[in-house]
Every structure is written in C-alpha cells, then in structure tokens.
C-alpha cells in the first residue's frame, strides 16, 4: 500500500500533536505443516500495513490500517482518538534521533531455497523421529519469514530494519497401547535456512527417544521439593518469574509485584539476569525496537539486586528511567508495548554433579511445555517436558507431567547454586496484552538448584 510516512508525521505536528511516529511494515513468509511424512498445509503470504501513533494533549491516539488511506485522514483519526482523553499527562522520555537501514545477516536466505528442499528436509526429520520405537506420530511445523519495518518520527528518526526468522517445531506423540505422551522440540533463530542442519536431524532422534522414555515415567509426587532446572527450564523460569515482572509498563501501572523495588535485593548474591536483543542469531533478537530505538542489553538483576527494568519511552518517563529500547509490536495492527527479547540468567561456579550432590530428595526437571505469571500477585506456574527424581544425589526414576508454582519475590532467594555453563534454550513465543500480542523470544541460563518448589503431582 502507498503511504507517505513523512507527510503523515508533518500533518500530525501541523495539527498540534506533540509527537508522532509512523511504522510501516511488510512481512512475507512461508509455513509448512507436516503430519508424519506428508505435508498437511503450506501457506505463503504477504501482508503490509501502517500504524500511526500521535501524542496530543497528554494522551495517545493510535490508528492501524492496511486499507489505502490518505495520510491526512489517517492522522486526523489518530488525533481524534487522542483528544477524547480529558486532562492527559502522558509524556515520553528523550531519545536521540536515529537514522539507519539495517538487516540482520543470514547465511542462506529462506526465499532462495526451493520449497521442495525444505519439504525434503522436514521429511528427513520426520523419518529420524518416526524411526524410534513407540513414536506414533509427529506434527512438524516450519516457518520462515521476513519482517521489514520502517519507523519514522517527528524528532527526525528514520529507521528501517529487516529481520528474518526461521524455525521448525516437532510435536512428537509416543504411544504404548492407551498410554500416550507428547513432547515438543523447537529449533530456530534470527537466521536463515542454515538453522536446519544435520544436528537438527540428530536432535529429532534424541527427543523422540526422550518422548518414548516418558511412556514408562511416573507422575511426580505432590508437595515441596528441592528442584534442579536445566538451562531450558531455567530460561522459561526467568522469563516468566522475573522477565515479565520487570516490564516497566506493568511496573508503571501498578501491575507488577516489583513496583518500587529498584535497588532492592530480591535474590541470592549469585543471581544475575539480563535481557539482550543483540545476541547474534538468537530467536528474540532485533536491531531496533518498534519505537525506532537501538536494541541494547539490559542488566536487570546484578548480584541479586534489582538494577533495571525493560523500558519504552513512555514508561521510562513515567518512572524517571532512561528508555532502553524495549518496545515491540507484534505487527502493524498492534501498538508497541514493553517486551522481553532474549532473557537469560548468568552462570554460577558449580558443576551439575556438585548441584545434585547436595540433594537428599528432589527433582531434576528438563525442558518446558510453557509457563505463565501473574505479575500483580507475583505468582507463577510452569511445566517441564520431563523430569527425574533425585535421591541422595543420584538420578533415579523418570517422571512426567511435572508442574511447579511459586512466588516471584521468594523464589530467587531459594537459589542454592548454579552451574558455570550458560546455554540458550529453544526458541519461544511470548504472549502479552490484548489479543494477545505474540512475539518471538529467546531465553536460557545454567542448571539451577532451588531449595524448595511446590510440585503438583497427580
């Protein structure tokens, strides 16, 4: 669609806006879904649209459209939306104007790979998974897509960025009679088709074996136990329990348990947490946020002390902080809100053996089936893909369907130790806000031992 962003920004300022930005977005992508070795769905799509945001009279007015619209009319609607707000006091933090045109590099652009080659790889992956005993079926989803965004604003910023993501996911179902279990694994990143290499085929087999092993796993006992999380699960835990609570829009509206706690100790001394959208190739990476600010690493918890929040320009101003480029919008139809990118916990100084050594009865939990948090109350829940009982420092019985819950403020104080090595977990998708807005994220960390976690068994 034709839309002159510069003209729209000028029109907004001429009509009395104090700030205006225009985000023009075009996405193109391919999805392939396979059931076992057969393609069940293939979709190729193109989408483009524009979002106009004005700040006027201390309030936001927002318009998104993919319908051809005169720039003046678009601005008029956005301004009218702002002007319904009586006595607004919304303002934004200062930011240096940015001018840039950047593309995150990929080795093999997905659009240059024939679709037959993609299907052939996915069929190979299915073969590796289905070759394992007791695997009943596998659903594979492949996605590649490029998001091309240009953000212009009334302060002179004009930032264009292109990010390509490639991802494959396998939902493996293992079956023995009427006993059925599921196991999911994903690979992907802000990378091209090079993401899918022979190591992924080997991983498919490994995860299929894990799925089959779950058939003989038992449900966990209920109650409070010492728990060790693997890097994958640590990442999800950090994302859910801490990452959401440090999103400054939630803090600014009173929706986070961490409101007013900057500078306060919330974890043991070895707890370090950061959010970093600049990690090359990671699934949650981006060069500029959706307000056109450069992406940068945020040191959220340092030595157990809450040091920073993820901010956008509005929330930074409201909280008296600097804006750190932490807003993202799912698409042109969504306004930019404060989001995580790649959220990780830093490492400690132990080995896995040392972590397990000290455990009399506990649970080692690996992988994730997802999690969620109530940031207002500060409670979280998450689920592991698989687990093992720890008895006197030894890994014993396999366990399945293990879910944990706890409270944000208490749990980081229960960290007893962690391994040196930090690993990225699998790519994730995070939902937030009305809709919800779903964005790609990464997370990870070390193996971590918590002295107590409530586990819901069956």
């Amino acid at each position: 669609m034709e839309f002159d962003g510069e003209r729209a920004v000028r029109a907004a300022m001429d009509a009395g806006a104090t700030f205006c930005d225009v985000r023009m977005e075009r996405t193109e992508g391919l999805t392939i879904e396979m059931r076992d070795r057969t393609v069940s769905r293939a979709v190729h799509g193109r989408r483009e649209g524009v979002a106009v945001r004005v700040l006027a009279g201390g309030a936001w007015g927002f318009l998104s459209t993919n319908v051809a619209l005169d720039e003046g009319e678009a601005v008029e609607i956005a301004l009218a939306n702002a002007r319904i707000v009586p006595g607004g006091d919304t303002a934004i933090a200062d930011a240096e104007p940015e001018t840039s045109d950047v593309e995150l590099p990929v080795k093999v652009a997905p659009r240059d790979v024939p679709i037959d080659e993609k299907v052939s790889f996915l069929a190979d992956l299915a073969d590796h998974i289905l070759g394992v005993m007791h695997i009943g079926s596998v659903d594979i989803t492949y996605d590649d897509g490029t998001r091309d965004v240009r953000v212009l604003n009334s302060e002179g910023s004009d930032v264009r960025s292109r990010v390509t993501r490639t991802m494959a996911q396998a939902n493996i179902a293992a079956r023995d009679g009427s006993n059925m279990v599921g196991y999911r694994f994903r690979v992907g990143g802000t990378r091209g088709f090079e993401v899918l290499d022979d190591a992924v085929l080997a991983a498919g087999e490994v995860y299929a074996l894990r799925a089959a092993a779950l058939l003989t796993a038992q449900h966990p006992p209920s109650g409070a136990f010492t728990m060790v999380t693997d890097p994958e699960l640590t990442g999800v835990f950090i994302h859910e329990a801490i990452g959401h609570a440090v999103e400054s829009d939630l803090v600014a509206t009173g929706g986070s348990i961490l409101e007013g706690r900057l500078g306060e100790r919330i974890g043991t001394e070895e707890v370090n947490v950061f959010d970093d959208p600049t990690i090359p190739g990671a699934f949650g990476s981006f060069p500029f946020d959706d307000e056109g600010m450069p992406a940068r690493r945020k040191e959220l918890i340092v030595g157990g002390v809450l040091r920073d929040l993820i901010t956008g320009r509005e929330t930074a101003r409201r909280l008296g902080l600097g804006a750190n480029g932490g807003t993202r919008a799912m698409d042109y139809g969504s306004r930019p809100i404060v989001r995580m990118s790649n959220t990780l916990m830093g490492g400690g100084d132990m080995t896995l053996e040392e972590l397990l050594d000290g455990v009399r009865t506990g649970i080692l939990a690996r992988g994730t089936r997802g999690g969620t948090v109530d940031t207002e109350k500060g409670t979280f829940q998450f689920s592991a893909s698989e687990a093992q009982l720890i008895e006197r420092g030894e890994l014993t019985r396999p366990l399945r369907d293990v879910s944990f819950a706890g409270d944000v403020l208490g749990t980081l104080r229960l960290v007893e130790g962690m391994t040196r090595e930090v690993e990225m977990g699998q790519p994730g998708f995070c939902g937030k806000g009305a809709g919800p807005q779903i964005v790609p994220v990464g997370d990870g960390g070390p193996y971590v031992r918590f002295s107590r976690m409530v586990i819901g068994g069956r």
Binding site: M1, V39, S40, R41, V43, H44, G45, R46, E48, A59, G61, F62, L63, S64, T65, V67, A68, L69, I77, A78, N81, A82, I84, V85, D89, T90, I115, V119, G136, S137, M180, V181, G182, H219, S222, A252, T253, G254, G255, G370, G371, T372, V373, D374, E376, K377, T379, F380, Q381, D401, V402, S403, A405, G431, A434, I438, V454, I455, G457, R458
Partner: protein, 454 residues
C-alpha cells in the same frame, strides 16, 4: 473508516474466482474485514484511544487435484495470490469437489447497529463510568487497567460452487482489573463480551471490585481431594487445552486424542450435555456459515455423558468419509480472533453446556471454589493431564463462598474431571479461547476427584 466498501471487495473476489475458474479445478476466496475502536485506561486514568481497519483475503485453490493456500492484504494482489496458491498445491492434500455452495443458516442477533455506531467518545464514556464505579465502591483500590472496545467483522466467501455470500457481526467488550495493595496484593478482574450493547459497565466494575475485596487476607488450606467448584473462568481455561482439542476429528480419528474410538461410549458424568450451538441467536461464536462455507447448525457433542461425535472441517470430513460439521474457523496459532492468514480448522466455536442446578457452589457442603487458574496451556493435550496453579480460589462452607485461599496446585486428568462432574451451574458465561479459536458459554461445575497441593 475510509476504504473500499465490502460489496466492492466481494466484487473483486468474485471477479478473481471467475478469472481462474477454468484454469484450475476449484477456487475459493475468503475475505475478512475487521474494523474496531477501543479506549484504554491504566492506573485509574483513561490514556488512549485507538482505531483499526484490516482487510485481507485467504485464497485456496484445488489444482491438479491438490489443495494450495496463500493470502494477501492488497486486493490488487489477488491474482498473484492465486498463482502462489497454485505453486504450493503440488504439496497439498489430495481433494475432490471440496468447496460447497455456501448456504447460510438464519442466525439472528449477530449484528448490532448500536455497536456499529459506537464512537470513541461513547467508549470513553463507558470506560469512565467503569472507573467512577470502581472508585466509588473501593476508593482505596487502584484500577490497574480497564478498557472498552467495539468492532465489526465482515466475512465473505466466494468460490467456484456458487455465488459469494457474506455476513456481518459485531462485538462489544468491556473489561477491568483492580488491585488492593494489601500484603499479599488482592486482585479482581472481570471481562464481558457481547454481540450487542447490552453490557453494563457498572456491573463489570462491581464484579471486579467484589472479587478483589473477597481475595484479601487469604488463608492456607491443606491439600487433598476435596469437592471442587471450577468457576466458568477456570473451567473454560482447562477445557480449551484438554477436552476441546480432543473433540477435533483430525486428532480423534488419527489416534491422538483420549476420545479416539469412543463415539457412543460414556465418557462423562450423565449430568454433562455439551452442544456446539453454532446458530445460537446472538451467540458470540455463532455465524450463518463457517469459515469455509459449511452451513452452521446445533451440533451435539456429548449427550448425558455419552460422546456423540467429533468436529470436522471440509478436508477432515472428506478424508474420513464423514459430513462437515460447520466447525471450521480460521485463526492464527495462539490467537482467538479470525484471520485470513490461516487455513480453516475445526474447533468447538460456540459451546453450550446444559445446566443442571441453579448454583453449583450451593451443591457443595465443604470444598474449594477455583475462580482462576494459571498455566492451563501447559496441559498435556494428548493425555489430558493438567497441573495448574489456583490463582484465585475460595473455601466453600455450607454451600457458600468463604475466605480466600492462598495459591495451590490443582491437578488431574480431564477424563476424570468429566466423569467427576456432580452439578452444572446456570451461570453460563461466554469465554473465547485464550490461545485458540474455541469459545462458548461455560458454566461453573462441581466436580469430585481433583487433587489440590499446597
């Protein structure tokens, strides 16, 4: 909102179908236009007005006996979209005579003129009324967020089997979340959605404040297996990720559902009767036809505890020699709203669970009322196992709601839950899926056999 009228867009779709009619086996253009306005409040103040307009087309072709799909947002790109769909067709499912002549059922009440006419000023006033009511009821509490929205959805299908048909639906939604800054914090929330303007914002604010007020000073309760009432909110969450996917033919007929090969079997308490009321007047998930043109109907799924059948799209019906069930919806992954970007898939879209008693809580002498759970999406859709955090829960004493309870883990299996139903309340409330297109009018139920861990 400016832009081309819906008739003009439908005309473009029909013209595209005609252009390609003789070059492929079949063509279908699905059009979706969504326009909306909304007003948001944060921390006791209105902060934002928004408007949106989005139009797009999903194109399916059958070429060489196989199905291909693509989408576009620019109607002048329709021919290119057809070409892209043709290019993908060699990979697609083998089909024959897939697209039906679209035959709409009569479903009154889907479209409300007052909702269509709502302005951002009207929505601002409704939002302000909620804020005022919350302030009046609980001056010490803070409204974390509140919002109102009005939207219009136009769906049209043009295909090679007959003339294009379309329908228009409206939605009015109101929600509010409130917080008492106690230790621990006490929160309350309420959300309502309707096809018409019949939601009272004052009532929504009142319910949210009441929940927050009741949630103060929670006490710890020992775990165990007490009688539990799952309020409609939490039941909706649990069913979305366990029972509703299990009813989809694609899963059930391919051995990936705990309801596989169970048609006519008793799978639930005889108190449970569940119907997908696709033609329910003013039903939020109802429509004259589904998202691939199959006529909507009232579809029994569980009758007095016995499984009646599964949910079919055109393609699963064709694959398994069954009739389509009017169940196809086009939703993106992790989204509950319609999208032209997705192919149709069968879902339970306007579920209705028959009540057996007035108030499920009154049926329980000593137990626990679970209002909200966290983590339903981590349930195991293959086995039906779930293990969730009870985020808002109360004790039940003598059939009445008592003190708030600290969070506990609630665990079980959905098949045990269905068998353990001992009463179905009359408080059916519409919930759309949190991460899928499912939706329905869900009651609170009393159930035995679920485990609580504290």
């Amino acid at each position: 909102m400016a832009g081309r009228g819906v008739q003009e867009i439908i005309g473009a779709a029909e013209a595209a179908v005609d252009r390609w009619r003789d070059r492929v086996d079949e063509v279908e253009v699905y059009l979706l236009r969504q326009t909306g306005r909304s007003v948001s409040a944060e921390r006791d103040r209105i902060v934002r007005g928004s408007a949106s307009a989005d139009v797009g087309a999903g194109v399916r072709v059958v070429a060489g006996g196989r199905l291909g799909f693509s989408y576009c947002t620019d109607m002048s790109d329709l021919d290119a979209a057809v070409e892209r769909a043709i290019a993908l067709a060699p990979l697609g499912q083998e089909v024959d005579g897939l697209f039906p002549r679209v035959r709409p059922a009569n479903v009154p009440g889907l479209r409300s003129r007052p909702v269509e006419m709502m302005t951002v000023e009207d929505l601002r006033d409704a939002t302000a009324a909620m804020l005022d009511r919350a302030r009046e009821l609980a001056p010490e509490a803070s409204v974390v967020s509140a919002g109102t929205g009005a939207s219009v959805e136009e769906v049209a299908i043009a295909n090679t089997s007959g003339p294009a048909r379309h329908f228009t639906g409206t939605y009015f939604s109101v929600g509010l979340s409130v917080l008492f800054r106690t230790d621990p914090p006490a929160t309350g929330f309420e959300h309502a959605v309707s096809r018409s303007d019949d939601i009272d914002p004052h009532l929504v604010a009142g319910k949210a404040v009441e929940m927050a007020r009741m949630s103060r000073d929670p006490i710890r309760r020992e775990g165990g297996v007490p009688p539990i009432v799952l309020r409609h909110d939490s039941l909706s969450d649990v069913l979305e990720f366990t029972l509703f996917p299990a009813l989809v033919a694609e899963r059930a007929l391919e051995g990936r559902s705990m309801l596989s090969e169970r048609v006519d079997d008793v799978v639930a308490s005889d108190l449970l009767t569940l119907t997908d009321r696709q033609v329910m007047p003013a039903g939020c998930g109802a429509s004259p036809f589904d998202d691939e043109g199959s006529r909507s109907r009232d579809l029994p799924l569980i009758r007095n505890g016995a499984l009646v059948g599964y949910l079919h799209s055109l393609s699963t019906a064709a694959r398994h020699g069954a009739e389509p069930t009017g169940s196809a919806l086009r939703c993106e992954r992790w989204s509950s709203s319609r999208s032209y970007r997705s192919t149709p898939a069968a879902v339970a879209r306007n579920v209705w669970i028959e009540p057996t008693v007035e108030d499920a809580v009154a049926e329980v002498e000593d137990g626990v009322l679970v209002v909200a759970v966290m983590g339903a999406h981590t349930s195991n859709p293959v086995s039906g196992d779930f293990s969730l955090n009870t985020n808002v829960a109360f004790e039940i004493t003598g059939g009445e709601v008592g003190r708030a309870l600290k969070p506990m883990m609630l665990s079980g299996n959905v098949m045990d839950l269905l068998r353990g139903v001992s009463a179905v309340g009359s408080d059916l409330t519409y919930h759309s899926g949190a991460m899928s297109g499912v939706g329905g009018y869900i009651p609170s139920i009393a159930v035995e056999g679920l485990t609580l861990t504290s």
